[in-house]
């Protein structure tokens, strides 16, 4: 399920401590700080290991997230917009990461371009509440999804390289 490299990536992302959802206004700010700290560390790690692959930012309240992710295939960079909401039940339930521009292009998506995660993701997330945050969802959810789907979509000619 979780391969060694993912495991290593995961172990280098700081764990979070505060169990708070966006409805708990007073402690949500603390959780949000932890989310940003973990994300910043994760992006730094990625840059150091030459595997930088996404940027994220949020609205002021930290309830809506958006940014870009990219995937390298045969030395070409394929870039996609990524977005998700923080559900009211977060962090008990993980965010549902969406890549809207790929909606309808792959069967491994739910409506609105939400990525279809493996059956392992949710149990793993549930066992690690509240320690896992957005950075972990990206590493465990979106990264492996892109690694499987993007080469396949390129091969099938469904997506093609766009000069930036």
């Amino acid at each position: 399920m979780v391969d060694d490299s993912t495991r290593k990536t995961l172990s280098n992302i700081p764990l979070l401590q505060t169990r708070a959802g966006p409805r708990e206004k007073d402690i949500w700010v603390q959780r949000l700080k932890e989310e940003y700290q973990a994300l910043i560390k994760y992006v730094e790690n990625n840059k150091q290991s030459g595997s930088d692959w996404f940027r994220l930012e949020s609205n002021k309240e930290g309830t809506k997230w958006f940014g870009k992710c990219w995937y390298m295939h045969n030395l070409l960079k394929y870039e996609f917009e990524v977005e998700f909401d923080i559900p009211v039940t977060y962090p008990t339930t993980a965010p549902e990461i969406a890549v809207p521009e790929l909606d309808g292009k792959t069967a491994k998506m739910y409506r609105g371009g939400k990525i279809c995660l493996t059956e392992h993701f949710k149990p793993l997330w549930a066992r690690n509440v509240p320690k896992f945050g957005i950075a972990h969802a990206m590493a465990l959810g979106l990264a492996p999804w892109l690694a499987v789907e993007i080469p396949d979509l390129i091969e099938k000619g469904i997506i093609s390289y766009k000069e930036k």
């Binding site: 979780v2 940003y36 730094e44 009211v88 069967a107 279809c116 059956e119």
Partner: protein, 406 residues
């Protein structure tokens, strides 16, 4: 030039024809929409023209006392898909007083392997399409629609207000909430809302491979809430390795969904009209036609603080003795189901392995299993991750700026 004139004349002619057609269609639709007038009182008279005669016969046969009470009941159906649409259809035909529908999805041709929606409705919002059909079937039912995703922060408050204020009498809560959603996030959102307002609800679900389903009655404080334990699912005894998932998210069958909706509404009716025995958990394994039944007690260590509050309230309430006897008599296997406590004693460290979900308690009903292993209660960090976020004094704004500049 004359060619243009001719064409212009033709356009005028076609326009008027089209207008006539439209008027005719509108008239037909109006007639169709008033297939019958509203009925003030349910009649028990047995005539072909009485839509309620067969329902009122339940009284005469001593199954239900005062069937017409159903007109005072309000039910919220969350998720109007394969199960929810059929659920709403059944309740409408039963003459429910008011239905409140929640869904943010549109009807798609890919939904046509299920019941209720028709291909001409593709593109319409599910709640709008459902409301039209339901009003046509039974104009006596008041239908309220909400076209949004209940799990987002903005919509959740609206959802809370609706289920707690939009009952039959304004300002009162709905009588029952039926969860017909297809994802864990929405179920947890309904669970949080119902725990907060102490509202009874039924959870329902069909497995992604379409060969099992279940319904679960959740009475906050009395039975396990949806956050008390990992979801309880019907064990299908399919080897996970032989389960082909490539290229698909979910399969579905109209049969499994119709059966699950039938179980759901049957138990909702029993609860609302106070007849028979309402099942706390009823599962359906389509592969061998097995129907496990059980009762789940709430977890005293539940993560939902409102669940704990409801549990305290429930403990101080006097219990009807009759009920206990019924449970013991019917399901002796589960009378001492204290699994919630054992679940906490499970002290496995939170690791990334533990691939196979295994039942961690011995007395879950036969043919059932937990969807996955329960999370460890220990607050220690995993041995693998050595770092944790530090509560330093960097402000959120600084962190946001730092992230943005990376």
């Amino acid at each position: 030039m004359s060619a243009i004139d001719e064409l212009q004349a033709l356009i005028v002619e076609l326009k008027s024809e089209l207008e006539a057609q439209k008027t005719e269609t509108r008239q037909q639709q109006a007639q169709a929409q008033q297939a019958r007038q509203r009925i003030d009182r349910m009649s028990a008279e047995v005539v072909d023209s009485n839509p309620y005669s067969r329902l009122m016969a339940l009284q005469r046969m001593n199954i239900v006392k005062d069937y017409e009470r159903i007109r005072e009941k309000t039910v919220a159906v969350v998720g109007v898909g394969g199960v929810g649409s059929v659920t709403a259809d059944m309740l409408t035909r039963c003459g429910i007083g008011k239905l409140i529908l929640f869904d943010y999805d549109k009807v798609e041709l890919a939904n046509m392997n299920r019941l209720f929606f028709t291909p001409d409705q593709a593109g319409l919002s599910k709640v709008e399409a459902a409301a039209r059909t339901l009003t046509f079937i039974n104009p006596d039912v008041k239908i309220e629609t909400h076209n949004y995703n209940i799990t987002t922060v903005d919509n959740f408050d609206n959802f809370l207000t609706t289920i707690s204020q939009s009952g039959t009498e304004p300002g009162t809560p709905v009588d029952l909430i039926l969860s017909c959603v297809d994802n864990f996030e929405a179920r947890m959102a309904i669970n949080a809302a119902c725990n907060e307002h102490s509202l009874n609800w039924f959870e329902s679900g069909v497995s992604e491979n379409a060969v099992s389903g279940h319904i679960q009655f959740i009475r906050p404080g009395d039975t396990a809430c949806f956050a008390c334990a990992p979801p309880l699912v019907v064990a299908e005894n399919i080897d996970e390795r032989t389960l082909k998932r490539e290229g698909v998210c979910a399969a579905s069958l109209p049969t499994t969904m119709g059966i699950t909706a039938g179980f759901l509404v049957q138990n909702a009716l029993k609860y609302l009209l106070n007849f028979g025995e309402v099942s706390d958990y009823l599962g359906y394994n389509a592969l061998n036609d097995f129907f496990p039944k059980m009762t789940l007690k709430p977890n005293p260590q539940c993560d939902d603080r409102h669940c704990l509050l409801r549990q305290k309230e429930f403990q101080t309430k006097p219990k009807p003795v009759k009920k206990e006897v019924e449970i013991v008599a019917e399901e002796p296997l589960h009378a001492t189901n204290e699994w919630g406590i054992e679940l906490v004693a499970e002290d496995a460290p939170a690791t990334e392995d533990a691939d196979e979900p295994k039942p961690i308690v011995s007395d879950i009903g036969e043919g059932l299993r937990l969807a996955y292993e329960a999370p460890s209660k220990s607050t220690e960090t995993t041995s693998e991750a050595t770092t944790t976020t530090t509560g330093d004094e960097t402000s959120l704004d600084d962190l946001m700026a730092q992230m943005k500049s990376m």
